[in-house]
Every structure is written in structure tokens, then in C-alpha cells.
């Protein structure tokens, strides 16, 4: 096998070092090279997915140290699914931001490209690593890229948002490290499979305290209430492709980490309830906050938090159908929210301020972008025949299977709130009387391609979900089959 999981990590790292040099040769290199790297990642994903479908999961060890002693990269159908999703979305976001420099006021394009690439690569690393300390390292990589990107515009607000993110990210790192330390002292291992194997021997109190540190730390990354104070500011101040990345990639990685820790490493009762309740609270508060937002990007940020809450609810339910729905929703959310951020970015670009108010009648200026935004909004709310419908459908089905009737009603009521604010924006875009004469920036070709491909995905999956469902199904099975995971990793060596 020529292509191994390590290519995911190696290629971006090499490129990151090479870009400053290549920029000297040709100034466009900084923009082209990340694309090549991300595209390579997509190829890697496809090859690996094909491989694991045929031969089962892959566990690659680095530097010759066998697991559990060495660092290993694991591609199961689950991680493979997420990694593919992240890399594809990453590539599309790059494609969208290809001509990004023209919008820059401060900062340098090469730093932007490198950080963006590193953020995506780090997220992939979080997903495929099998080692808990390595997880921490990757989270730090993502975090540092994210802090810098948040403050990329070097404006007052940007700096403030970046600092907030940094502050809270610091808490996350500290707690995560604390958790890792506790676990290491108790199990003497950093390999997740081995930790999971040895977990039954750990004293209950230690286990729980370690779990709480993990929950708080990773909850910050996964934007769980009340740990998500950084998110609205970061989303709204970062460059738009970065916001899209936050929504589609970073949050996915955060949720992955949380789920991996909760599902695989620990065997504590009550975590599921915790996830469900906190997920619901996050969702409720986020949507409530979103309804009174005046800034489009902030609104989308709160909406993202709400969607992540729904994902957590689904993971909290924990049945196979629920996990399936959650994974489906993660994919849908990544796609749809990227689309919304991309289109929303063009709206903002065409108006003076980022206010929703100034979107009145922008349909006439940007018909195609408006159309895509409307499509995305309808899909995100969960209207058929768009892909969002199916994920919500399965999550609610699974909740019903467990007879959580009030949860279902709650989720649906929150959906009504969601629908209200999205349709208000859609109504403004299409039907309100336009005011003023904002400058008209038409979308560039690459952006149109990126956005259209996302929209196409939404419609196709919406009408014929069978295209993607087998993959998600196997991913869900892989996640839930904990013993198989442990055995495979520990016996493969």
C-alpha cells in the first residue's frame, strides 16, 4: 500500500514549510500549493476508504514503535468517514477561498493559506490519531491556527475575539492536559485502545474526575453550552472561509474527540444523559440567542452551536440509529453551514455592514447566491427534499425509539425558532424593498463551483439518500463496536 494515513499529516506539514520558500519563486504558490495538498488529502481519503471497505481498518504506527507504545494512526470506517468528510470540505473551502486575497485588508495571504491548511490538517489529525497525547497536540495545532486566523484582520474586534478564543482555548488545553495526566497515572498508557482496555481497573472516583476534565476541555472545542462563549465572536470576526472551516471542520473534530473519549475510553454511566441534556440546552439557548441577532455571521454562528447541540443529543441517545443520525447530521451540517457561510460572505461583501437589515432585496443583485442561500436555509431547517430532512428524521426516529417524547417535542419547537429566523432572513433577501445602492461584487468562478457542488450535494442526497447512507451506517457501526476497535489495534501489532 503506497498511500497510508500518515500522508494526511505529512503532506501539509511539508507544504507548510515549503510554502514560504516557494513564494519566493512564484507569488501565487502560496495559494496554489495548499490546494494541491488538500486535493491530495481527498485522494488519500478515497484510497483509504476503498481500502478499509475491502480489507478492514488500518492502524499505522509511526517511527517503528508499536502500539500501544508508539503513536498510531487509526482509520476505521468511522474515522475514515469523518476524515474524508473533513478533507473534502476542506478542499471545497480552499476552492472557495482561492481568490481570497483580494478581500484582505491586513495580513498576508501566505500566512492565511498556511494557517488554514494547518487547521484542516490538524483536524484530520485529531480524527485519525489513536493516541491521546497526540490528540492533545493536534488540538493545540488546530487551536493555534484558529486563534491566529480569528485575529487575522488585525482589527480591534478581531483581536478581541482572538484573545477571547485564546483565553478559553487555554482553559481547554489545561484541563485536557490534566485529564490526560490523571488517566496516564492510573492506566500508564496513552494509547486510547489500551486505556479503554484498562479502564475497568481504574477507581471510580478517578475515572469520573478525569472524565469531567475531558468533558469540560473537549466541550469547549465542541461548542457545548456554557463553554461556547468564544464561538460567536470567533465565527463572526474570522475571515469567512475560516468561519466555514470552524463550522464544517473544527467543530466536527471537536465533537469527534468528545465522542471518542466518551464512547471508547470511558465506561461511565450517565454520560449519555449528560450529553443529551447539555446538547438540548446548548441547542435551545443557541437558537434562542440566534433569533435576536442582528449580524448575519453571528446568527449563523449561533445556529452552528444549535446544530452541534442536536448532534450531541443524538450521540447522547446512543442507539445505533441515533449515532447514524448524528453522523449524517454532522455531514449535513458541515455541507450546509459551509454553503451558508460562503453565500453569506458574499452578502456581507456587498453591504457596508454585516447587519441582516442591509440584506433587503439583495436578491436582485446576487440572484444565484441568494438562491443558494435560500436553499441552504431550507435544508438546514430540515425541509424535504433536501438532505437536512433525513438526518433530522433519523435522529427523531431514534429518540422516538427510546420514547423520549418531550425531547422530540422540544427539538421540534426549537426547530420552529430556527425556522423563524432563517425565513426572516430569506424573506428579506428575496422580498424586502431594497435600500441604498451597495457595491455589486459578483461571485468568482471558483466560488460558484464550490457553492454549486455543495448545493448539488444537498439536493441529490435529499432526493436519493441511499447514495451515502451505507457509508454512514458502517461508520456508526464502527463507532459503537468498541471491543472490536480495541482488539484490532492491540492485536494488529
Amino acid at each position: 500500500m503506497v498511500i497510508t494515513p500518515v500522508h494526511y499529516i505529512i503532506a501539509p506539514l511539508i507544504a507548510a514549510f515549503a510554502i514560504p520558500l516557494l513564494t519566493k519563486i512564484h507569488k501565487d504558490a502560496a495559494r496554489v500549493v495548499p490546494g494541491i495538498v488538500l486535493f491530495y488529502n481527498v485522494i488519500v481519503s478515497f484510497v483509504l476508504m476503498k481500502h478499509i471497505r475491502e480489507h478492514g481498518m488500518i492502524s499505522e504506527v509511526l517511527a517503528g514503535w508499536q502500539a500501544p507504545w508508539g503513536i498510531n494512526l487509526v482509520v476505521t470506517p468511522f474515522t475514515g468517514y469523518l476524515a474524508s468528510m473533513v478533507s473534502i470540505l476542506g478542499f471545497i473551502i480552499w476552492l472557495y477561498g482561492f481568490r481570497f486575497k483580494r478581500t484582505l485588508k491586513g495580513g498576508e495571504i501566505k500566512f492565511y493559506e498556511i494557517l488554514q491548511m494547518m487547521m484542516i490538517a490538524g483536524s484530520i489529525g485529531i480524527i485519525i490519531t489513536g493516541d491521546i497525547f497526540n490528540l492533545f497536540v493536534f488540538i493545540e495545532i488546530v487551536g493555534i491556527s484558529a486563534f491566529s486566523l480569528t485575529a487575522f484582520y488585525r482589527s480591534r474586534d478581531g483581536a478581541e475575539a482572538g484573545f477571547k478564543y485564546l483565553l478559553i482555548g487555554g482553559f481547554a488545553s489545561a484541563f485536557l492536559l490534566l485529564g490526560i495526566i490523571i488517566i496516564y497515572t492510573q492506566t500508564g498508557s496513552l494509547n486510547m485502545a489500551q486505556i479503554a482496555e484498562r479502564m475497568p481497573d481504574v477507581p471510580q472516583q478517578m475515572k469520573i474526575i478525569a472524565l469531567i476534565f475531558f468533558l469540560v476541555a473537549l466541550g469547549i472545542e465542541a461548542e457545548m453550552f456554557p463553554l461556547n462563549g468564544w464561538a460567536p465572536d470567533a465565527y463572526s470576526q474570522a475571515p469567512t472561509p475560516t468561519s466555514a472551516t470552524f463550522a464544517a471542520v473544527v467543530s466536527v473534530a471537536g465533537v469527534y474527540a468528545l465522542i471518542r473519549v466518551v464512547y471508547t475510553m470511558f465506561d461511565v454511566e450517565g454520560v449519555n444523559n449528560y450529553l443529551m441534556i447539555m446538547g438540548f440546552v446548548s441547542m435551545l439557548i443557541a437558537e434562542i440567542a440566534a433569533i435576536s441577532q442582528k449580524n448575519l455571521k453571528r446568527m449563523l454562528a449561533y445556529s452552528s452551536m444549535g446544530q452541534i447541540g442536536l448532534v450531541l443529543i443524538a450521540f447522547g441517545i446512543g442507539s445505533k440509529l441515533a449515532v447514524f443520525g448524528a453522523l449524517f447530521l454532522m455531514l449535513n451540517h458541515g455541507v450546509i453551514k459551509s454553503l451558508l457561510f460562503m453565500t453569506g460572505s458574499y452578502f456581507i461583501y456587498n453591504t457596508e455592514d454585516k447587519k441582516i437589515k442591509s440584506l433587503n432585496g439583495i436578491y436582485k443583485k446576487l440572484p444565484f447566491v441568494s438562491f443558494l442561500f435560500g436553499l441552504g436555509a431550507l435544508a438546514l431547517i430540515g425541509f424535504p427534499p433536501f438532505s437536512g430532512f433525513w438526518s433530522k428524521f433519523y435522529i427523531l426516529m431514534s429518540a422516538a425509539d427510546e420514547k423520549y417524547i418531550f425531547l422530540i417535542i422540544g427539538i421540534l419547537l426549537v426547530t420552529v425558532i430556527e425556522l423563524t429566523y432563517y425565513l426572516r432572513v430569506v424573506g428579506r433577501i428575496f422580498f424586502a424593498k431594497e435600500e441604498g445602492e451597495p457595491a455589486s461584487h459578483k461571485p468568482s468562478v471558483n466560488a460558484i463551483i464550490a457553492m454549486s457542488s455543495l448545493a448539488l450535494f444537498i439536493i441529490v442526497i435529499g432526493v436519493y439518500p441511499d447514495l451515502i447512507m451505507p457509508h454512514i451506517q458502517s461508520a456508526a457501526e464502527a463507532l459503537l463496536d468498541k471491543s472490536n476497535y480495541i482488539q484490532q489495534i492491540l492485536s494488529l501489532n
Binding site: L167, V268, G270, I291, I405, L412, L419, P465
Partner: protein, 616 residues
């Protein structure tokens, strides 16, 4: 490929095709849409017969599409009315902006409605229901440039609440009865009000909101009035019938049930809700000054009758409901078309602005007259049959004597707004402002006249509608539905012969008309409306002799307590309070990094303190 899938595909592709035709050539957009739906209707009625079924799998679910006699009955309404509405629409929408958008959404709505009635499993039902809802939402906000925040959104919120209630019911049917097929759910007794009462209640809530039942009707009047009239025709005529369709489906188990006592409360409550809907719709209709709004409230009231009919559960009652569903689609479709024609030709439908159009738009007036007579339920037109069936059902079969008075009150008060509509638009003073008005173009008149003819024929030969209605009733659980071609019989054996009535009225009409016309023919003069006896005063040009404002003020004063119950205000207050409440929660996100850090610490501490409670 299955023929039904082809039909849906034609509509789907047609929707996009229309959109693109519009950017190509604006003139042909309407015609394209009309042809697409016409072809669809042609294929449907020739190729698909009742009893057709199509099973397939999607997304791991067993789905089933098909047609019973019951759903076929509604297909008549949907496709028939859509074809006429689109024919009408060609000229009506001419010269307006975003035609592609309009027709695309229009066809999508038709697709959604068709999908709803052909679905025989809940997932497809919900799927198409939602398509129908959002596509119609796009059309509702098509005109509402200013009130987007309240009017259109109100419709969507109510629809969404209804749809999600339905969805909740669907998932629970899946959980409790392990089926998604409607027929199986009915067979397993999912709607029996014995166990899991919330399932049928949620379903009824979902359908009831679409059928604009009492406390949830507030979305309907503005939505009906603000949409383009050619769309309101099917919005009020056909789409509201989807709610009726659903209620009928849910009640199938009631009609089939061996112990109907289970259903006593639900049918009583629903019947009363329908009755109150009828009354409130009527009394609000008669204080409107905008003809479109008047018709919209009237639609709400008429839907109330249908709900009452369904809730009786007797043969005559359900027959009344189904008959009214068709006849309401017919006359209300025609009336909305009339309102649209007036709007198109005179620029507004505000009855305080225009009056006296009868000489300018004679054909439109005749259609309006016929439809209004049908609406008011006065013999010999089709509306009377529905009213008769409803009253007889309530009196003779379901013994609901007070409800029948409520319904009767509503339908008597309906005379008032019926008159108001005709008087406001067509009769009264001929003002100078409307001098330029001309008769609407032929493609707008023809569909109206077709509908008017149907309403007339249905008065003498209601059997033409009874026949499919009887079949439909047999499909939802009635046995041996009896009907006659042109007479009505109740269970006590009292008969009313409609054909004779029609003939008698026609004969007297001819005799007295000829007498009155021929007598002093040459010495009878027709004069304008300025030539009236105003105590000898010569009306000046600027003098306003039009009586339009506060038309029914005495009635308003007499019925003042009824007007105090304003549902609209209650909902509005609820919305405002909720938003204020949400604003309070929003303050959690202070935007201060220190606060956020504090949250994290507190959260950690709380988790650590309550770790034994939370985890074990």
C-alpha cells in the same frame, strides 16, 4: 419507470423548466406552466385509475404510493383547479416580476399536493407535505413586500408547528405500531383513541392547522389575501383541502370503528372548533373592507363547515363535508379569480376605493353572482346542497342541536358578506376613478365561467359529485352509501327534489323576466347611478355617494361581544412575550471573555460537585 414517478418527475422538471423559460422569454412562462400541468393532468386521468399502487424502498424505508377512491376524489380538486388557475394565471400574472419564481413554486406546490394525496405511507406524506408547505410559503411572500416579518412568517410558523406535530405523531406510530403505512396504521388501530391518544391528536393538530381550524386560523386570512389571486385560488380551494383530506384519513378509524364512543370527545371538540371557526370567520369576514380579505375569512368559515361535517361521522355529514370540499373549491376558486380580475383591471380590491364595476365587467359580475349565490347556500345552486346535507346530518343523524344553530348562524351571517362582496365591487355608485376599467381578458374569464357552470349544474344534478364522493366514502369506511342524481333524502325519508326546484325557478324566472321586460319596453329607461333621488340635490362630481365604510356597523354593535375575542391579538402577544423572553436568554452571551472563563470554571466546579449525581 413507474407512471406515478414519471408524473412527479414531469412536475419537478417542469418547475425548473418554467423557471428557465422565464429567463429566456417572459411571455411564454405562464403558458409553459399551464401546459405542463395540463399534460400532467391528462396523463394522470388517463393512465392512473383508482386502486393503483407502487411500492419501493428509499433510505431504508418501505414506501408506498397509490390511489384509493378517497384520494382520487381529491386529485380531481387539485388537478382540476390547478389547470384552471394556471390558465387564468397566464394573463393575470402578465407583466409582473419574477414569473419564473412564481410558476416554479406554483408547480412545486401542485407537486406537493399531488404527492400528499398519493402517499400511502407517512414518510412520503410528510415529505410531500413539507414540500407543499414551503413552496406555498414562497408564493405567500411573493406579494408581501412590507409585512414579510409578520404575514408570511406567521403562515410558515403555524404550518411548521402543524407539520412537526404531525411528524411527532408519525415517529410514534413507527415506534408503537412498527409501521409507516397508513393503511396498516389504521388497521392496527393507531387512531383509535384507546392507547397512545396523542398520536391521533397530533395528527389532527397537523391537519387542522392546514385546514385553518379555530385557534390556529390566524395565518389563513392574511396568507390568502396577500398571495397572488391565481395562487389563492388553489391555496384556498385545494391546499386547505389537504387538511380535510388528512382529517378524513385519521377519522377513517372512527368511521370504521365498532365502538364510536371512544371518539365522542374528539369529534365533539373538533365539531365545536369547526363551528366556532365558521362563526368567527364569518363575523370577521363581514367587517372587512378589502374584498380579498373578505374572501379569505369566508374561506376560513367555509372550512369550518367541512370540519363540522367530518366530525359528525355520519353518512350525510361526511357526504356534506366531501361535497362542500368540492363545491367550496369551485365557488371560492371562482370568487378569488373574480377578485383577481378586479384587482388586475381596477388596480385594487379595496371596496372603499372602487364600486360600480357591473357595467364595465359584466361577465365577471355574472360569475361573481353565481358563485356568491352558491356560497350563500341559496337554492338552486350547488351551495345549497352542501348546506342541506350538513343541517340534515346534524339534526337527523348526529343530534347536535346547538351546533347546528351555530352553523346556521354563521351561514345566515354569510348573506351579509356575500352581499357586501357583490355590492362593494360591482354595485353601488359608478365613480369616476373606475371609468377606465375594462372587462378582463378571455383567458381569465373562461376558467371562471367553467367554475360557475359547475356550481350551477351541481345545484340541479348534485349526483355528479355524489358519485365520486360516495366511492371516496366507501374507501374510508362507509358501507352502502346511497345517493340520488338530483334529489336529496335524509334518514327520515324526507325528500327534496332539486331538479324540479331548478326547473320551477327557471320557469318562473323566464315568465316574470319576460313580463317585466316587455311591459312598457320602450318607455323604460336605463340611467346612470348618479341619477338618484337625493332630495332634489344634484350630485356633484366630487360628492361621495358611495356607502362602503362601516357597512354593517349596526350588526357590529349588536354582536359586539363576539368581536372582542380576537385570536390574532392573543397570538401576537404570545409572540412578543416570547421574543422578550428570548432576549433575556441572549444576555447570557455577554461578549466578555472573563465572564466566559468564569462560566467554564463554574461549570467545572458544578460538575465536580455533582459528579456522584451525574455519573456512576
Amino acid at each position: 419507470m413507474e407512471i406515478i414517478a414519471i408524473i412527479l418527475l414531469i412536475l419537478l422538471v417542469g418547475s425548473f423548466l418554467t423557471y428557465f423559460v422565464d429567463s429566456f422569454n417572459k411571455k411564454w412562462t405562464g403558458t409553459t406552466a399551464f401546459l405542463i400541468v395540463l399534460i400532467t393532468a391528462g396523463i394522470f386521468f388517463t393512465k392512473i385509475k383508482s386502486g393503483y399502487q407502487f411500492n419501493f424502498q428509499l433510505a431504508g424505508l418501505d414506501l408506498q404510493w397509490g390511489l384509493t377512491d378517497y384520494s382520487y376524489y381529491f386529485v380531481y380538486i387539485i388537478l382540476g383547479l390547478s389547470v384552471l388557475a394556471l390558465l387564468y394565471s397566464i394573463k393575470y400574472m402578465e407583466g409582473k416580476a419574477r414569473l419564473g419564481y412564481f410558476y416554479g413554486s406554483f408547480i412545486l406546490t401542485v407537486l406537493g399536493m399531488l404527492g400528499v394525496v398519493i402517499s400511502q405511507d407517512f414518510v412520503s406524506l410528510f415529505f410531500f407535505w413539507e414540500i407543499m408547505t414551503w413552496a406555498s410559503f414562497l408564493l405567500v411572500i411573493y406579494n408581501a413586500y412590507y409585512k414579510i416579518k409578520t404575514k408570511g412568517i406567521k403562515y410558515m410558523i403555524f404550518s411548521a408547528v402543524g407539520a412537526y406535530a404531525m411528524f411527532t405523531a408519525i415517529v410514534f406510530i413507527h415506534v408503537h405500531y412498527d409501521t409507516l403505512l397508513i393503511s396498516e396504521a389504521i388497521a392496527k388501530g393507531a387512531f383509535n383513541f384507546e392507547q397512545y391518544i396523542y398520536i391521533p391528536i397530533f395528527l389532527l393538530l397537523g391537519f387542522g392547522i392546514k385546514a385553518a381550524v379555530m385557534p390556529f386560523h390566524v395565518w389563513a386570512p392574511p396568507a390568502y389575501a396577500k398571495s397572488p389571486m391565481s395562487f389563492t385560488t388553489i391555496f384556498s380551494g385545494a391546499m386547505s383541502k389537504m387538511g380535510v383530506f388528512g382529517i378524513g384519513l385519521v377519522f377513517t378509524s372512527f368511521y370504521l370503528s365498532s365502538n364510536p364512543e371512544n371518539f365522542f370527545w374528539v369529534r365533539t371538540i373538533l365539531g365545536w372548533m369547526g363551528g366556532i371557526t365558521a362563526v368567527m370567520g364569518t363575523i370577521y369576514a363581514l367587517i372587512q373592507t378589502d374584498a380579498k380579505k373578505l374572501l379569505a375569512y369566508s374561506s376560513v368559515a367555509q372550512l369550518g363547515y367541512i370540519i363540522v361535517g367530518l366530525s359528525t361521522g355520519t353518512q350525510l355529514g361526511v357526504m356534506a363535508a366531501l361535497y362542500l370540499a368540492v363545491i367550496h373549491a369551485v365557488f371560492k376558486g371562482a370568487l378569488f379569480m373574480v377578485a383577481g380580475a378586479v384587482e388586475k383591471q381596477a388596480g385594487t380590491t379595496d371596496m372603499t376605493q372602487i364600486s360600480g364595476l357591473i357595467r364595465k365587467m359584466p361577465y365577471t359580475f355574472v360569475v361573481a353572482l353565481v358563485s356568491i349565490i352558491a356560497l350563500a347556500g341559496v337554492p338552486p345552486l350547488g351551495g345549497f346542497v352542501g348546506k342541506w346535507l350538513l343541517y340534515e346530518a346534524l339534526i337527523t343523524e348526529s343530534n347536535n342541536y346547538i351546533l347546528v344553530v351555530v352553523v346556521f348562524f354563521s351561514s345566515t351571517a354569510a348573506f351579509m358578506y356575500s352581499y357586501r362582496f357583490l355590492f362593494g365591487l360591482f354595485l353601488g355608485q359608478e365613480e369616476k376613478e373606475t371609468e377606465h376599467v375594462k372587462e378582463a381578458p378571455a383567458t381569465m374569464i373562461i376558467p371562471m365561467i367553467i367554475l360557475a357552470i359547475i356550481a350551477t349544474v351541481a345545484g340541479a344534478y348534485p349526483g355528479l359529485i355524489f358519485e365520486p364522493a360516495a366511492k371516496a366514502m366507501q374507501a374510508i369506511g362507509f358501507q352502502d352509501v346511497t345517493w340520488q342524481m338530483s334529489s336529496l333524502t335524509n334518514v327520515w325519508g324526507d325528500t327534496t327534489d332539486l331538479f324540479l326546484i331548478a326547473m320551477l325557478i327557471f320557469a318562473v324566472f323566464i315568465i316574470s323576466f319576460v313580463f317585466l321586460t316587455l311591459k312598457g319596453l320602450k318607455k323604460t329607461r336605463y340611467v346612470g347611478t348618479k341619477d338618484i333621488s337625493t332630495s332634489g340635490e344634484l350630485p356633484k362630481e366630487w360628492e361621495n355617494l358611495t356607502f362602503q365604510l362601516d357597512f354593517f356597523k349596526p350588526f357590529e354593535r349588536a354582536a359586539a361581544p363576539l368581536y372582542k375575542m380576537d385570536m390574532n391579538k392573543i397570538w401576537k402577544d404570545l409572540g412578543k412575550n416570547l421574543e422578550a423572553f428570548f432576549g433575556f436568554f441572549r444576555k447570557i452571551y455577554t461578549g466578555n471573555g472573563q465572564t466566559y472563563a468564569l462560566y467554564i470554571v463554574i461549570f467545572l466546579v458544578v460538575l465536580l460537585l455533582f459528579r456522584d449525581v451525574l455519573f456512576s
